[in-house]
């Protein structure tokens, strides 16, 4: 069998997927990236291999993707996370034509064609309370952590409105809501809804067509998924068994197989 590795060096997390020629995932591993991308790549690959005692020499090709893709000397090829994300999601959810990736630093909307090629994409305007980090700061401010968002937001009675576009001022709106003694759940839900609205805007801006797919860390927040489906009039499918976070790594590994094939073709030719 041929085996490829996809290493997604995200700004906060590094994810690895080992994939065989049939697209079957042999092993996955995720850890915080830290500041040394090269180490993060090496380390994660090593652990991913050890987990299934695969030896390094069995890996035929490595594709790096994500923010730190250039720092990962071990990879044979670097591809952007957008291309990888789209392709990975496409292989899990072939019918999906629009992918929303809601991560910590950025939210991305991608339109893809029937072979998983990116035909249009849009990233959140940085000057907007657009990404997961905003939610994280909010819950931390409320005295909870990221894992509580889903629960808190679902128990909201009367969500607050957060209108400010700047994260920092959005935070101060949140402070003001708390000062006005609004319930923690309502404030949290308000933040989720604000973020959902912006994410939905991104999706509209790539002239999205359903079926929709949702990947990235925020995919686990039910309120967000529901609201998105509600605003855009069609539900959002998520990748199988919580693999959403690995879409980039998986896509990279799959594209690595394609390069590998092309290379062998060239050699034999």
């Amino acid at each position: 069998m041929t085996l490829t590795a996809g290493i997604d060096l995200g700004s906060s997390y590094t994810k690895v997927a080992l994939v065989d020629e049939h697209g079957f995932i042999e092993s996955t591993y995720m850890r915080k990236t830290g500041f040394h991308f090269a180490d993060a790549a090496e380390e994660s690959l090593r652990v991913a291999l050890e987990q299934k005692d695969i030896s390094r020499s069995d890996v035929d090709y490595i594709a790096g993707t994500g923010f730190g893709r250039y720092a990962a000397e071990i990879s044979d090829l670097s591809i952007t996370e957008l291309t990888c994300h789209a392709y990975g999601t496409h292989r899990w959810l072939p019918e999906v034509r629009t992918v929303l990736d809601a991560g910590g630093q950025t939210v991305k909307a991608l339109r893809i064609d029937e072979v998983g090629r990116v035909t249009a994409f849009r990233l959140n305007d940085k000057c907007a309370a657009g990404a997961g980090a905003f939610l994280q700061k909010t819950v931390e401010y409320l005295g909870y952590d990221i894992t509580d968002i889903a629960r808190l937001s679902e128990n909201a009675q009367d969500p607050v409105t957060v209108s400010s576009v700047c994260t920092v001022f959005a935070e101060s709106e949140i402070i003001n809501h708390l000062a006005a003694d609004r319930a923690v759940e309502d404030v949290c839900a308000g933040a989720v809804i604000a973020l959902t609205g912006r994410a939905a805007q991104l999706v509209k801006r790539v002239k999205a067509e359903p079926p929709f797919g949702l990947t990235g860390g925020l995919a686990s927040i039910k309120l967000l998924t529901d609201k998105l489906g509600e605003i855009l009039g069609s539900p959002f499918a998520v990748p199988p068994d919580g693999l959403g976070a690995y879409a980039g790594a998986y896509g990279a590994a799959l594209l690595a197989h394609q390069r590998l094939q092309k290379r062998t073709e060239l050699v034999s030719a």
Binding site: D125, C127, A128, S163, S164, V165, C166, F169, S172, E173, I175, N176, A180, Q201, K204, R205
Partner: protein, 434 residues
């Protein structure tokens, strides 16, 4: 939270006339547009600065002002849905919000809260705001309607006064007069009517009269207490001055306003109860949160006795339009050029104008409100503020939000700056031993 002090205006026999009248006039304006749309009568999309109302009215071509429409959606709390509709079409968060609200209105069935928003049969855009021209091109693409760009060369020097005896001026007049004649030909085509110079003459007469009244209205606020709030009431006066420029109803309205204000002065009634601070507004207001915005000043008994907006956004009508009815077209060209200046070079050199107003109206401080939507008004404010403070010792507050984009409204920050400004004005009084 602390209780807000909001000024109460005592009842007067005249009181409310202006308000009811302006409401009615604005509704008429919308009814006219709604009807024109129903009967497919060609409507001119034109802009408040350099509207060429004189020519358009001569051909009875109804005028639709997108800025007025956009402003009203914000006051009605509807601007965001139109604005977002435009952004969904791909328009940037960083362009003028008025433009986006307009695009949104056109993209969502042209249903304005106050009436039907008509298709443009003709677009007239002057260069008094560069964005007008881009805006016109957007409409041109959507409706492929005729677009007329009136190019008004601004004053070239670095002063505020327009030298109308110069060679440059004569050359500009030739250029503008030629363009006006082109516009007249275009209007003949659009309206199917022949040009009637006597009707133009009549209209010019009405504008002369309206301008005279408008100036007296502004001057009323030299009284203490100031009879009207240039922020909250002034916006109505200016709105009517724009939509009814060159129409008799407009003249009547200004007469009513003036008499109401005269009565307020006679009864020593101020726009805010116990006027404490007299302010000049430079820039435009924030219409998405208009009440809160105005309230933040009123709770300190601060009244806007003057507003630069009432000058430049009135297309210079405050500078005294005096058309020579014996030579209408030539005079129109000359006067447009001269009165355009407050909205052109005037904005860029407005520190001189501000200094004069601060003097004439006995201003305590200037509020500079910059908006992301309007770089024409906002870009130079910090520099003007600095000049007024250092050369004229007139204190200024610099704040920013937007006309129609509530995402740029940050209440806590806004309030904090405004409260601090009033505290500093009070400090100055203590200093002066007042």
């Amino acid at each position: 939270m602390e209780t807000q002090k909001v000024a109460i205006r005592p009842a007067l026999s005249q009181a409310g006339n202006t308000r009811t009248m302006s409401r009615a006039l604005i509704q008429n304006y919308w009814d006219e547009l709604t009807e024109s749309d129903a009967t497919a009568k060609p409507v001119a999309n034109t802009f408040v600065m350099g509207s060429m109302a004189e020519v358009l009215n001569t051909f009875d071509i109804p005028m639709s002002f997108p800025e007025v429409a956009a402003l009203q959606t914000a006051v009605k709390g509807k601007s965001m849905e139109y604005l977002l509709a435009a952004e969904d079409l791909g328009h940037s968060p960083d362009i003028c919000g008025y433009v986006k609200v307009d695009i949104g209105l056109h993209a969502t069935g042209r249903n304005h809260p106050l009436g039907k928003y008509p298709k443009p049969g003709l677009v007239v855009a002057s260069n008094m705001c560069n964005t007008y021209i881009k805006w016109a091109e957007i409409l041109e693409r959507q409706y492929n309607c005729p677009v007329f760009v009136l190019d008004l060369p601004g004053w070239r020097g670095t002063g505020f006064e327009y030298d109308s005896s110069s060679e440059t001026f004569k050359n500009d007049v030739k250029y503008v007069e030629g363009q006006i004649r082109d516009l007249i030909t275009l209007c003949e085509e659009v309206s199917g009517k022949k040009f009637d110079i006597d009707k133009l003459r009549e209209i010019l007469g009405d504008v002369n009269r309206m301008s005279e009244l408008y100036r007296s209205i502004l001057a009323m606020n030299k009284n203490k207490p100031a009879p009207f709030n240039a922020l909250t009431e002034g916006i109505n006066y200016m709105g009517i001055a724009n939509i009814l420029r060159g129409r008799p109803e407009g003249v009547q309205f200004m007469e009513t306003v003036l008499s109401e204000l005269e009565e307020r002065v006679a009864n020593n009634v101020g726009a805010v109860s116990d006027e404490h601070f007299r302010l000049l507004l430079v820039g435009v207001a924030c219409y998405t949160n208009f009440k809160e915005f105005a309230g933040m000043f009123e709770r300190w008994s601060g009244v806007f006795v003057a507003s630069e907006y009432m000058s430049f956004a009135g297309g210079g009508i405050d500078r005294g339009v005096v058309y020579d009815l014996s030579r209408p077209i030539e005079s129109l060209a000359e006067q447009i050029l001269i009165t355009a200046q407050p909205s052109m070079s005037g904005i860029f050199y407005s520190h001189e104008w501000q200094a004069r107003v601060a003097e004439d109206y006995d201003i305590d401080g200037i509020v500079y409100h910059g908006v992301k939507s309007c770089r024409t008004v906002s870009a130079g404010l910090p520099d003007a503020r600095e000049w007024l403070l250092n050369h004229e010792n007139v204190p200024g507050l610099f704040i920013q939000s937007d006309l129609v984009d509530s995402r740029l409204w940050a209440e806590a920050q806004m309030r904090n700056r405004i409260d601090a400004f009033f505290e500093s004005l009070e400090s100055r009084r203590i200093q002066a031993g007042v």
